[in-house]
Symmetry: C2
DNA sequence: TTTACTGTCATAGAACAGTATGACAGTTGG
DNA sequence: CCAACTGTCATACTGTTCTATGACAGTAAA
């Protein structure tokens, strides 16, 4: 797993990492139980402060994506949804609304939008499957 | 059009307004060419500084949602996409990916996800249609 | 136990975001 | 022209966010 940070993007480094790890987990590049790079070496590699990595990991733990075992390290959680069904749906609906509103402003019609959604779903599924069979 | 701000939500007031106006435009509650409330009266009504409203409007202008005519006021733009087709698709794909990744972490499967997307699309279409026929 | 690794916490400083005030410029109608 | 309205800009204050440093605590193996 290779991470990249862009210092001039304006986006906080720790959030860039959070996103990358969430994406990697969703795309299957990181799998359940797999260990994440430990904080200090990764910080050195990315030329970033230890605590910046630590903050990213802490955020991911808060989101229920990873799990940290004191003295051992951080690992990808198996089942990573700490929320119940109605809360899940509400969170997800809000996220989807963002995309729907944007589609409207960009003048992308319903059919084009649905096609794009399916394309993105396929993209993640392909990536995930490819990883399984290696 | 009535706006509401929540001071204890943690979310910046000007961004709350940006979202509300974008949503209102997408849902048809605000229509092309329609004037937005002028800055000072709206600021007074919401008990907010003038510049907070001004910032929200400036942000919306940057996004191509509204248009401001010096000395006259701010108006909803007719066709509000200043981007070309490939850029549009890329922006939208990124937004959709956010939702797809979240769906994965919340363990919402493909079919459920697609159903939810359709439901949200319908929701906005209904709102928009209702407004047209009044 | 010692050493070398894991993550954690308290603290501090720099940069940024959010908001507020006052002075300014364009438009419209009396 | 003048008054009352529109949005704009420069500036400053405040609180928060982001990053960095150093000391600390748990785990594992020699």
């Amino acid at each position: 797993m290779i991470f990249q940070v862009d210092f001039k993007s304006g986006k906080p480094v720790y959030l860039q990492l959070v996103d990358q790890i969430r994406y990697a987990a969703a795309a299957g590049a990181l799998r359940s139980g797999e260990p994440l790079p430990s904080i200090r070496p990764l910080a050195e590699e990315l030329r970033v402060n230890r605590n910046t990595i630590a903050k990213a990991y802490a955020e991911l733990e808060g989101q229920g994506v990873i799990e940290t075992i004191p003295g051992k390290g951080c690992f990808l959680k198996k089942s990573d949804s700490p929320f119940n069904k109605p809360v899940r749906q509400k969170l997800l609906a809000a996220e989807i609304d963002e995309a729907v509103v944007m589609a409207h402003h960009l003048q992308v019609d319903r059919e084009k939008f649905l096609a794009l959604v399916k394309e993105r779903l396929d993209y993640f599924e392909r990536k995930s499957d490819a990883k399984k069979n290696d």
